[in-house]
Amino acid sequence: MSDHSAVIFERVSRHFGEVKAVDEVDLEIKGGEFFSLLGPSGSGKTTCLRLIAGFDRPTFGRILLYRQDVSTLPPYERDVNTVFQDYALFPHMTVGENIAYGLMVRKAPKEQRQRRVDEMLDLVQLSGMAGRKPSQLSGGQRQRVALARALINNPKVLLLDEPLGALDLKLRQQMQVELKAIQKRVGITFVFVTHDQEEALTMSDRIAVFNKGKIEQVGSPAEIYEHPATAFVAGFVGVSNLVGGDLAKRMTGSESRFSIRPEKIHLQKPDEDTVPGQIVADGIVRDVIYLGLYTRYLVELTGGGDLVVVEQNLETTSMDVLAARGQRVRVAWAKEHMRQIGG
């Protein structure tokens, strides 16, 4: 364990009655990194965040914040702050009072409070909004206020609980970029909970993929995407074709299971020559979904099994791709794009 670890989980479990929401999780988050907890709802990622914040305590195990055991410390004695999913802005206070709250309860002098609030408003590009009430703000603005409020105490770790979930797509993408920029600027460790794999891949330095209270894999976005460790990760992060059993044996000569990303598969004419060393299979295009930028094909293989194939519409039009329905095709991919999957 390095000195730079911001958060360490040591065999942490949190049980709710019979349910093991978090099940013997070991985790190390480095100082200054943008770390995402990714997983479907009920996978334990939000519980882990609440354990770091102190809203909840582990049933077993220890949590360290910068080498200090905080497992039993209440939230108000932990040097972490949270951006809540519903923002949790105090409706009876103005934007300025909301942001200053952390300094006010720490009895910071008034001038310092004023100065810091202005800095924070500047940081989140809401200058001049201090006098408004949260109810007068748009969703995106509330999100920024929540961020400013959580950052004003200069926490060692900032926890973000699906903060972009309530925003529409355009705003969400804009905030993703902005959050990342703010994180770079303030240099604080961000722990970001999301169920959106694209969001996690876009923003994170590293990602932990959660499933059923356990961590399936920890790694950089590229590692998670290109080298999924388990079938769950392969299926949850991006779209993957999982091939095993008979089908795998026919293609590779071995029954062991592998995954192949849809965009790595090429569609060819059935009589086209194949590059030596490639894996090939024949089939019929069962379905075509035109998505503008790219097209998704569902190919039913001769002898059973389906593959999803994605191709960019570089030179094809919607007329061309839709005409492919029902056609015989050959699918091919390079061996190095296949990933052996355990379990």
Partner: protein, 301 residues
């Protein structure tokens, strides 16, 4: 035919609104505000002392009567009692309401709800008489206090001038206890409703930002629950102001506003003075609400 009607109504939402709101509004206007207006008018008449007839001419004489020391004494006593009962009920109700809103399981919450509502199902008169027995000199409460050897503090309490008496049942303390009990549900339910609308994340956010539980309570929970406390206190305050059964059955037979109204409009037939007395609580409540608004009690609504 029915279809035509429903289409017509669908296309005229204002008509639907008028049909729905019309009857209750009419009722409110005539019966509710009408009686208030009648009260107001009557309070500006006066009773002719010789003939016992009501003189239907505008006069402030009745209000002058109301401001006599004996009557002011009644108003002050009633208002003081109402304030004390309201404060005590708020203090008793808040923890229970908080527990119901934040911690109780749905099942326990139902049980507590029933527990709070249950007294309201039985006659109020019966409950007042039951308390009369509980608080009597040989009643169960003094028996219990005797058992705990707390006679001396009780005697000291009953010896206090102004609020003491020969027994709990015959003292203002007894009246206070019974009022607190009788109106408590009206305080618990609005506070509980207000607290239910405060998401847990608000308190977590406050704690997360470094506030200790007491500070979170003072700066976040209480301000957001204040509309509920004010709503509850309107009930307890105004119900105490207007009640005449409790001070009639218990206490030291010093009049409250309710008793004064009752006796003036009944035995002495002085309806104008009764009406003037009734305007007292109305004015007090209006002042109370204005002050509450000034203090920001409704800001979080």
């Amino acid at each position: 035919m029915l279809r035509r009607l429903s289409t017509t109504l669908y296309q005229r939402p204002r008509l639907v609104l008028a049909l729905l709101l019309g009857p209750p509004m009419l009722y409110m206007l005539v019966v509710y505000l009408g009686s208030l207006a009648a009260l107001l008018v009557n309070s500006f008449y006066r009773l002719d002392g010789f003939t016992g007839q009501i003189v239907r001419q505008f006069t402030l004489a009745t209000y002058a009567d109301l401001l006599k020391p004996a009557n002011l004494d009644i108003i002050a006593r009633t208002t003081g009692m109402a304030a004390a009962v309201t404060a005590a009920d708020a203090l008793i109700a808040f923890p229970l309401a908080y527990f119901m809103a934040k911690f109780a399981s749905p099942r326990l919450k139902t049980v507590l709800y029933l527990g709070v509502m249950l007294p309201l199902w039985s006659s109020y008169l019966v409950r007042v008489y039951a308390w009369k027995l509980i608080l009597a000199k040989e009643g169960i409460l003094s028996w219990f206090i005797n058992l705990l050897h707390l006679n001396a503090p009780l005697d000291w309490l009953l010896g206090l001038p102004g609020i003491g008496g020969s027994s709990l049942a015959l003292s203002p303390i007894g009246v206070f206890i019974v009022f607190c009990y009788i109106w408590l549900p009206y305080m618990i339910l609005p506070i509980q409703t207000a607290l239910e609308r405060v998401p847990r994340s608000f308190e977590e956010a406050s704690s997360d930002l470094g506030a200790r539980p007491s500070e979170t309570f003072r700066r976040v929970t209480l301000p957001l629950a204040l509309p509920g406390v004010v709503a509850g206190s309107i009930f307890t305050f105004s119900l105490t102001l207007g009640d005449f059964i409790v001070p009639l059955s218990l206490g030291n037979s010093k009049f409250f506003i309710g008793q004064a109204v009752y006796s003036h409009q009944g035995t002495s037939g002085n309806v104008p003075l009764a009406a003037a007395f009734t305007m007292g609580p109305v004015v007090i409540m209006v002042i109370y609400l204005l002050v509450a608004r000034k203090l920001g009690a409704f800001d979080a609504l």
